[in-house]
């Protein structure tokens, strides 16, 4: 996993990035609620939101190709669920409504996540009095996501360089073996992390 996979553009200098996290998160939430409340008879409100998003995206200086790329990556999920609309008469209008709404909502969350480092979101959650245990879990998980992903990659490469057969049944067991060793390492590391936390005075 590329080290900047997640936060590639979260640290640019732009007026949007500089906004306080609470403002960005609050605005995102309000936009999402507004989208949920738009009556099907007034789709022009969607256009309004779309314009707003484009403006914000422009001000944020994030490369548009990147944003569109991410949008396209995540779109199939929304399309899939929206396809359920075809299971009923008059489906086309319903389908378009769903796709429009969900794509815009996706844009909102995408912009939020690309203009706000996850660490800032965590600080906001802590200020909002989210239980300390949850915040700690989120922070630690995020931190070690890459470490584990790298280890998984290494384990898979090691396995691949020793595998000469292509039998599918074997493959599942081999992949599961990688997962097994990965968890073993993760568990050992968690012990060392606990030691490191205690060594600097952590008391849960």
């Amino acid at each position: 996993m590329r080290p900047d996979f997640l936060d590639r553009h979260a640290r640019l200098a732009s007026p949007i990035h500089r906004l306080p996290t609470a403002v960005k998160a609050g605005a995102a939430l309000l936009l999402l609620i507004a989208l949920a409340l738009v009556p099907p008879r007034q789709p022009w409100l969607f256009a309004l939101v779309a314009l707003l998003l484009v403006a914000v995206a422009g001000a944020s200086r994030i490369p548009p190709r990147f944003l569109l790329g991410r949008l396209l990556l995540l779109e199939p999920l929304a399309l899939g669920v929206a396809a359920l609309a075809f299971l009923q008469p008059g489906g086309w209008r319903h389908f378009l409504l769903l796709v429009g709404r969900s794509t815009l909502a996706l844009g909102v969350v995408l912009l939020l996540s690309q203009t706000t480092p996850f660490a800032a979101l965590l600080r906001l959650l802590r200020r909002l009095r989210l239980p300390a245990l949850l915040v700690t879990l989120l922070a630690l998980m995020y931190r070690y996501l890459f470490v584990l992903a790298d280890e998984a990659e290494r384990l898979q490469r090691a396995r691949a360089s020793r595998t000469f057969s292509r039998r599918r049944g074997r493959d599942w067991r081999a992949i599961a073996a990688v997962a097994g060793r990965l968890f073993g390492r993760a568990s050992e590391r968690s012990e060392r992390i606990y030691g490191a936390m205690c060594a600097r005075g952590w008391r849960p």
Binding site: P3, L140, A199
Partner: protein, 252 residues
Amino acid sequence: MAAVKALEVTGLSYRYPDGTPALDGVSFALAEGESVGLIGPNGAGKSTLLLHLNGLLPDVPPAEPAVRVLGQPLTRDRLPGVRREVGLLFQDPDDQLFCPTVREDVAFGPEQFGLAGPDLAAEVARCLATVGLAGYEDRLPHHLSRGEKRRVCLAGVLACRPRLLVFDEPTADLDPRGRRDLKALLAGLPVTKLIASHDLEMIAALCPRVVLLDQGRVVADGPAAELLADEPLMLAHGLERPPGLSRRHPPG
């Protein structure tokens, strides 16, 4: 001699949970301001010994601890204080750099001990500057090189203002530049230091005295110039005389 020893280990023994003996009657002491190297082959018990110095091992603090830090025995109620006084740097910086940003990680220790607000920010800045990483506050751990991660860990430990610094293989996995930088950094720290390492050249440069550990026992304890140059001794314990150290011309 009335000066309190920075560290005193007396007859420390330890067995792993599965019964394998790890340490057997280890005894040595460090005076304040000393720089001592801890050397020995893999499996000698160096890391295990280091974990005893701030009470991470044994799991249950004994009634009669074998370790004394600054004159105080490591009993259960002393542990929080000891963890402030003994700064332990782990072998894998990824284990120790567990916060989402550099700033939060360096601030972690002093935060636990009550520092907050602008004082905390100033302390973080000071420690990062000390390790040569000024301005790194907002960086993410997974974007850093291994050497940078090691230095952030050091900053985080220094932020606790320890009286004794303990290092577990500080130059392992570093490229030559990272190694040079870290060596210079360590040389510049006036605190009492115990450095466990395979990097005998670094030990020779930084530590006037070494303790040789093998199979859980202290085999030798004396001037680095003598012990490291003693080829038969080094070879007998899975080590070797560091290049650049001749028998006739010990380092200054």
